[in-house]
Protein backbone atom coordinates (compact mmCIF):
# COMPACT_ATOMS: atom_id res chain seq x y z
CA UNK A 1 0.00 0.00 0.00
CA UNK A 2 1.31 3.43 -0.88
CA UNK A 3 2.34 5.29 2.28
CA UNK A 4 2.06 8.69 0.68
CA UNK A 5 -1.50 9.96 0.32
CA UNK A 6 -1.21 11.53 -3.11
CA UNK A 7 -4.85 12.57 -3.37
CA UNK A 8 -4.90 14.44 -0.08
CA UNK A 9 -1.68 16.28 -0.88
CA UNK A 10 -2.77 17.05 -4.43
CA UNK A 11 -6.06 18.35 -3.09
CA UNK A 12 -4.30 20.65 -0.64
CA UNK A 13 -1.82 21.95 -3.21
CA UNK A 14 -4.62 22.53 -5.69
CA UNK A 15 -6.44 24.60 -3.06
CA UNK A 16 -3.38 26.77 -2.66
CA UNK A 17 -3.10 27.14 -6.44
CA UNK A 18 -6.82 27.94 -6.65
CA UNK A 19 -6.30 30.74 -4.13
CA UNK A 20 -3.12 32.26 -5.52
CA UNK A 21 -4.14 32.07 -9.16
CA UNK A 22 -6.93 34.59 -8.59
CA UNK A 23 -4.83 37.72 -8.04
CA UNK A 24 -1.92 36.55 -10.19
CA UNK A 25 -3.65 34.93 -13.16
CA UNK A 26 -7.41 35.12 -13.39
CA UNK A 27 -7.73 38.72 -12.20
CA UNK A 28 -6.22 39.85 -15.52
CA UNK A 29 -9.44 39.27 -17.45
CA UNK A 30 -12.75 40.72 -16.36
CA UNK A 31 -14.56 37.55 -17.39
CA UNK A 32 -12.76 35.55 -14.69
CA UNK A 33 -12.29 38.43 -12.28
CA UNK A 34 -15.81 39.84 -11.86
CA UNK A 35 -16.95 36.51 -10.45
CA UNK A 36 -14.15 34.04 -9.57
CA UNK A 37 -15.79 31.02 -11.19
CA UNK A 38 -12.49 29.61 -12.53
CA UNK A 39 -11.05 29.53 -9.03
CA UNK A 40 -14.21 27.98 -7.61
CA UNK A 41 -13.89 25.25 -10.26
CA UNK A 42 -10.30 24.60 -9.12
CA UNK A 43 -11.48 24.46 -5.51
CA UNK A 44 -14.15 21.99 -6.64
CA UNK A 45 -11.48 19.67 -8.07
CA UNK A 46 -9.48 20.10 -4.88
CA UNK A 47 -12.49 19.00 -2.81
CA UNK A 48 -12.85 15.90 -5.00
CA UNK A 49 -9.17 15.01 -4.50
CA UNK A 50 -9.42 15.62 -0.76
CA UNK A 51 -12.50 13.41 -0.53
CA UNK A 52 -10.65 10.59 -2.31
CA UNK A 53 -7.70 11.14 0.02
CA UNK A 54 -9.88 11.02 3.13
CA UNK A 55 -11.64 7.84 2.03
CA UNK A 56 -8.29 6.19 1.43
CA UNK A 57 -6.93 7.21 4.83
CA UNK A 58 -10.07 6.12 6.68
CA UNK A 59 -10.56 2.89 4.68
CA UNK A 60 -11.90 -0.06 6.68
CA UNK A 61 -8.80 -2.19 6.11
CA UNK A 62 -6.09 -1.92 8.73
CA UNK A 63 -3.30 -1.05 6.31
CA UNK A 64 -3.47 2.64 7.22
CA UNK A 65 -2.13 3.72 10.59
CA UNK A 66 -3.53 6.51 12.72
CA UNK A 67 -0.83 8.78 11.38
CA UNK A 68 -2.34 8.61 7.91
CA UNK A 69 -5.77 9.60 9.24
CA UNK A 70 -4.32 12.57 11.11
CA UNK A 71 -2.30 13.70 8.10
CA UNK A 72 -5.28 13.49 5.76
CA UNK A 73 -7.53 15.31 8.24
CA UNK A 74 -4.95 18.03 8.66
CA UNK A 75 -4.64 18.54 4.90
CA UNK A 76 -8.42 18.74 4.57
CA UNK A 77 -8.66 21.26 7.41
CA UNK A 78 -5.91 23.44 5.94
CA UNK A 79 -7.56 23.29 2.53
CA UNK A 80 -10.88 24.36 3.99
CA UNK A 81 -9.13 27.28 5.69
CA UNK A 82 -7.64 28.29 2.35
CA UNK A 83 -11.08 28.08 0.72
CA UNK A 84 -12.65 30.03 3.56
CA UNK A 85 -10.01 32.72 3.31
CA UNK A 86 -10.54 32.93 -0.44
CA UNK A 87 -14.32 33.31 -0.12
CA UNK A 88 -13.92 35.87 2.64
CA UNK A 89 -11.41 38.02 0.79
CA UNK A 90 -13.11 37.96 -2.62
CA UNK A 91 -16.74 38.27 -1.53
CA UNK A 92 -16.61 40.10 1.78
CA UNK A 93 -13.38 42.04 2.18
CA UNK A 94 -13.55 43.35 -1.37
CA UNK A 95 -16.79 45.08 -0.48
CA UNK A 96 -15.36 46.93 2.50
CA UNK A 97 -15.42 50.27 0.74
CA UNK A 98 -16.33 53.72 2.07
CA UNK A 99 -19.78 55.05 1.17
CA UNK A 100 -18.49 58.03 -0.86
CA UNK A 101 -21.79 59.90 -0.57
CA UNK A 102 -19.94 63.10 -1.42
CA UNK A 103 -18.85 61.92 -4.86
CA UNK A 104 -20.30 64.05 -7.68
CA UNK A 105 -23.46 62.54 -9.15
CA UNK A 106 -24.80 62.69 -12.69
CA UNK A 107 -25.68 66.29 -13.50
CA UNK A 108 -23.31 67.76 -10.92
CA UNK A 109 -20.11 69.58 -11.70
CA UNK A 110 -16.94 67.52 -11.47
CA UNK A 111 -14.75 69.17 -8.80
CA UNK A 112 -11.73 70.91 -10.25
CA UNK A 113 -8.20 69.77 -9.43
CA UNK A 114 -4.63 70.42 -10.50
CA UNK A 115 -2.24 67.49 -10.35
CA UNK A 116 1.17 66.57 -11.72
CA UNK A 117 1.54 64.39 -14.80
CA UNK A 118 4.34 61.91 -15.47
CA UNK A 119 6.56 64.67 -16.89
CA UNK A 120 6.26 66.83 -13.82
CA UNK A 121 3.84 69.24 -15.51
CA UNK A 122 0.91 70.60 -13.52
CA UNK A 123 -2.39 69.79 -15.30
CA UNK A 124 -5.86 70.98 -14.29
CA UNK A 125 -9.22 69.43 -15.07
CA UNK A 126 -10.17 72.60 -16.94
CA UNK A 127 -7.18 72.19 -19.24
CA UNK A 128 -8.00 68.53 -19.83
CA UNK A 129 -11.56 69.43 -20.82
CA UNK A 130 -10.59 72.18 -23.24
CA UNK A 131 -7.60 70.56 -24.92
CA UNK A 132 -8.63 69.31 -28.34
CA UNK A 133 -8.31 65.65 -29.19
CA UNK A 134 -5.34 64.19 -31.11
CA UNK A 135 -7.34 64.34 -34.35
CA UNK A 136 -7.81 68.10 -34.00
CA UNK A 137 -11.49 67.91 -33.04
CA UNK A 138 -12.85 69.85 -30.06
CA UNK A 139 -12.85 67.99 -26.77
CA UNK A 140 -16.11 66.20 -26.00
CA UNK A 141 -15.20 65.57 -22.40
CA UNK A 142 -12.95 63.38 -20.31
CA UNK A 143 -13.00 60.04 -18.55
CA UNK A 144 -11.56 60.25 -15.03
CA UNK A 145 -10.38 56.91 -13.68
CA UNK A 146 -9.46 56.73 -10.02
CA UNK A 147 -7.27 53.73 -9.32
CA UNK A 148 -7.20 52.03 -5.98
CA UNK A 149 -3.51 52.80 -5.49
CA UNK A 150 -2.34 49.20 -5.68
CA UNK A 151 -3.89 45.87 -6.31
Amino acid sequence: MRKFNLSAWAGFLLSVVAFISYPFVFARWSITRDFPWANLVLFGFAVVLLTIGMRRAFAADRSHPKRAKIAASLLVTLSMLVLGLFLFSTFIMARWLPASHGAPQVGQKAPDFTLTDTNGKRVSLGEILTTSATNGQASKGALLIFYRGYW
Partner: protein, 86 residues
Amino acid sequence: MDSPEVTRDLCAKAGYTFTFLSDPKAEAIRRYDLLHAGAGINGQDIARPAEFLVDASGTVRWLNLTENYWVRARPEQILEAAKTLR
Protein backbone atom coordinates in the same frame (compact mmCIF):
# COMPACT_ATOMS: atom_id res chain seq x y z
CA MET B 1 -1.22 57.90 -4.70
CA ASP B 2 2.11 57.16 -6.35
CA SER B 3 4.58 59.92 -7.19
CA PRO B 4 4.97 61.12 -10.81
CA GLU B 5 8.29 59.26 -11.07
CA VAL B 6 6.69 55.95 -10.14
CA THR B 7 3.79 56.41 -12.55
CA ARG B 8 6.17 57.46 -15.34
CA ASP B 9 7.96 54.11 -15.02
CA LEU B 10 4.63 52.29 -14.97
CA CYS B 11 3.38 54.10 -18.08
CA ALA B 12 6.64 53.48 -19.94
CA LYS B 13 6.54 49.77 -19.13
CA ALA B 14 2.86 49.38 -19.98
CA GLY B 15 2.90 51.64 -23.03
CA TYR B 16 0.09 53.89 -21.77
CA THR B 17 -0.45 57.03 -23.85
CA PHE B 18 -3.26 58.62 -21.84
CA THR B 19 -2.66 61.35 -19.29
CA PHE B 20 -1.62 59.84 -15.98
CA LEU B 21 -1.77 62.16 -12.99
CA SER B 22 -0.37 61.67 -9.51
CA ASP B 23 -2.28 62.53 -6.35
CA PRO B 24 0.20 61.72 -3.56
CA LYS B 25 -1.57 64.00 -1.06
CA ALA B 26 -4.98 62.62 -2.03
CA GLU B 27 -6.28 66.13 -2.89
CA ALA B 28 -8.45 65.15 -5.85
CA ILE B 29 -9.30 61.86 -4.13
CA ARG B 30 -10.72 63.75 -1.18
CA ARG B 31 -12.54 66.29 -3.33
CA TYR B 32 -14.35 63.42 -5.05
CA ASP B 33 -14.96 61.76 -1.66
CA LEU B 34 -13.08 58.62 -2.71
CA LEU B 35 -10.64 58.38 0.17
CA HIS B 36 -10.26 54.89 1.61
CA ALA B 37 -8.41 55.67 4.82
CA GLY B 38 -5.77 53.19 5.97
CA ALA B 39 -6.70 50.54 3.43
CA GLY B 40 -3.29 50.44 1.83
CA ILE B 41 -0.93 47.51 2.24
CA ASN B 42 1.19 49.49 4.73
CA GLY B 43 -1.79 51.18 6.32
CA GLN B 44 -1.55 54.19 4.04
CA ASP B 45 -4.58 56.00 2.63
CA ILE B 46 -5.64 54.91 -0.83
CA ALA B 47 -8.62 55.62 -3.10
CA ARG B 48 -11.71 53.49 -3.65
CA PRO B 49 -11.91 52.75 -7.38
CA ALA B 50 -14.29 54.93 -9.43
CA GLU B 51 -14.79 56.17 -12.98
CA PHE B 52 -16.44 59.45 -14.00
CA LEU B 53 -17.38 60.51 -17.51
CA VAL B 54 -17.33 64.32 -17.66
CA ASP B 55 -18.53 66.38 -20.62
CA ALA B 56 -16.74 69.40 -22.07
CA SER B 57 -18.60 71.76 -19.70
CA GLY B 58 -17.34 69.85 -16.65
CA THR B 59 -20.65 68.15 -15.81
CA VAL B 60 -20.67 64.51 -14.72
CA ARG B 61 -22.65 62.48 -17.28
CA TRP B 62 -21.92 58.95 -16.06
CA LEU B 63 -20.15 57.44 -13.09
CA ASN B 64 -19.30 54.04 -11.71
CA LEU B 65 -18.71 53.49 -7.99
CA THR B 66 -18.06 49.78 -7.75
CA GLU B 67 -19.29 47.91 -4.67
CA ASN B 68 -16.52 45.33 -5.01
CA TYR B 69 -13.00 46.42 -5.85
CA TRP B 70 -12.42 43.35 -8.02
CA VAL B 71 -15.24 44.46 -10.33
CA ARG B 72 -14.58 47.52 -12.50
CA ALA B 73 -16.39 49.11 -15.43
CA ARG B 74 -15.66 47.31 -18.67
CA PRO B 75 -14.45 49.28 -21.70
CA GLU B 76 -17.68 48.50 -23.61
CA GLN B 77 -19.77 50.05 -20.83
CA ILE B 78 -17.71 53.23 -20.83
CA LEU B 79 -17.70 53.51 -24.61
CA GLU B 80 -21.48 53.10 -24.62
CA ALA B 81 -21.82 55.93 -22.11
CA ALA B 82 -19.34 58.07 -24.05
CA LYS B 83 -21.55 57.91 -27.13
CA THR B 84 -24.00 60.24 -25.37
CA LEU B 85 -21.41 63.01 -25.19
CA ARG B 86 -21.86 65.52 -27.97
